[in-house]
Symmetry: C2
Subunit: 282 residues, 2 copies
């Protein structure tokens, strides 16, 4: 495996692979890799001839009050995990390498970014869409892999790629969970022991919502929302940001729950802001 | 030459060319081609193995009060001109083909788009940047050719491509003029005989500005602006939009004129809004 820190060298390596007729799968990450990332890499390895990953904590997608400076990093651990998961090339560029001058260009995906995490984190998804489009231009993948853990991000990336006719297939992969149900996340590293013990409450709230819909036939989004909210807020360590049930495709709240739905939660606990989601069908 | 109306078929043709090791040059246009476009195509033919052109009157870059519906079209004439200028593939898609569903994604290049035509045509350059990024994704060119006639557009496209690491070299080509100095433009077709006779006044105004800077050493942008304004406004058929002298790189008005400069003018005459620009050095 090669760890590369310049765009030019990474592009040259992948140009060579493509020129030799090999397909490239891309796994964009912010590093501090865990088994969720490894599952994306293994999926890419199964579907593509060569797997490239990027490790870049992208300043564009952090607001001034967020955790850019404290975001966890471990390049040695990341390279070991990525190598074991089948990655051949890692691009781990500096901010200066990615953004040598002021970034004037921004990509916005309207509508999809105006609710949920988009409402809580203004500009976040502009930063995501912009860096992902740039990484697509740099890597030229035929497939790119994103976790469903960041469900709204996946929807934004899918729409950006479709609207802009990016020559890449976007693959969403299932969330990987700890044995107690907590969704794997680099930000779980922020949790104290007490917070870590309380954290699976988010997944429990999502399961409560799904049971209401699938087992009890609940069709009122407010009832589902309130039930999930109740499960989270009885844990005093949590400060709920949102608990919502939306159409799985366009992320709008339907007046009557029907078809493919997605339940999503975001909450703060200690230094961490955690998000999670699951699907439901009615 | 092949005229293709679907993205998939155009992409497949160019994928085949690239797979055979041939470089692709792209000339994006809105059609109603003239010798200015032909000069871009001939330059592309000289520098690339295969030349692809696109003909698409992009609704995203027209405001509601602009000339989208009346923009001149002549696909038969365009194909003849393009074939003679060395084009192998033309993509001439419908609006439905380019934008099958609502376009939620928009690319904005800040700062560069806030003055001159960007101020007069809000959202115009967002539409340009968005469609050009999409055309780059569709065609996968190694070089793309744009006229200096649309100088601010060229600056916006350059910055977009650079910020997003698009794997394409942006080539700016000199404006092609009629014998009396009028810059070639598809919108010249709107001009009546009287308006056409008056139209070279824009180029004369630009030359007046350049003479002030280069021959008389004028360093005050207001003096140059006023001189150009005077030349345009003495022709009553014109309604001046702007006459400005800016830094050729970042398009800002310098307090003291120095280095590589660009003089730009926009004015309405009859149904047409014409733009033109030239360089100057001090």
């Amino acid at each position: 495996m090669q760890v590369i820190d310049t765009i030019a060298a990474f592009r040259k390596a992948l140009d060579g692979e493509r020129a030799a007729g090999r397909t490239v799968g891309l796994v964009p990450t912010m590093g501090y890799l865990h088994d969720g990332h490894a599952s994306l890499m293994r999926r890419a390895q199964a579907e593509c001839d060569v797997v490239a990953a990027t490790i870049f904590v992208n300043p564009l997608q952090f607001a001034a009050n967020e955790d850019l400076s404290s975001y966890p990093r471990d390049l040695d651990g990341d390279t070991a995990l990525a190598a074991a998961a089948g990655v051949t090339y890692i691009l781990a560029p500096s901010v200066k390498e990615m953004y040598p001058s002021e970034v004037l260009t921004s990509i916005r995906v309207s509508t999809l970014t105006e609710t949920l995490d988009g409402a809580s984190r203004p500009g976040h998804f502009d930063g995501v869409a912009t860096v992902v489009a740039k990484l697509f231009n740099i890597a030229g993948p035929c497939r790119a892999y994103f976790g469903e853990k960041d469900y709204q991000q996946l929807a934004v990336v899918r729409r950006m790629a479709s609207d802009l006719s990016a020559p890449v297939e976007i693959i969403g992969c299932p969330t990987v969970r700890e044995p107690d149900g907590l969704a794997m996340s680099s930000r779980n590293a922020y949790l104290t022991a007490d917070e870590r013990a309380a954290a699976p409450r988010l997944y429990q709230a999502l399961q409560t919502g799904r049971r209401l819909i699938e087992d009890e036939g609940e069709s009122d989004p407010a009832v589902v929302r309130n039930a999930m909210t109740g499960v989270v807020t009885t844990e005093p360590l949590f400060t709920l940001d949102y608990a919502e049930v939306v159409d799985a495709g366009d992320l709008t709240v339907p007046p009557v729950l029907a078809g493919e739905l997605r339940l999503l939660i975001a909450a703060k606990i200690g230094r961490a802001r955690l998000i999670d989601n699951i699907g439901a069908t009615r």
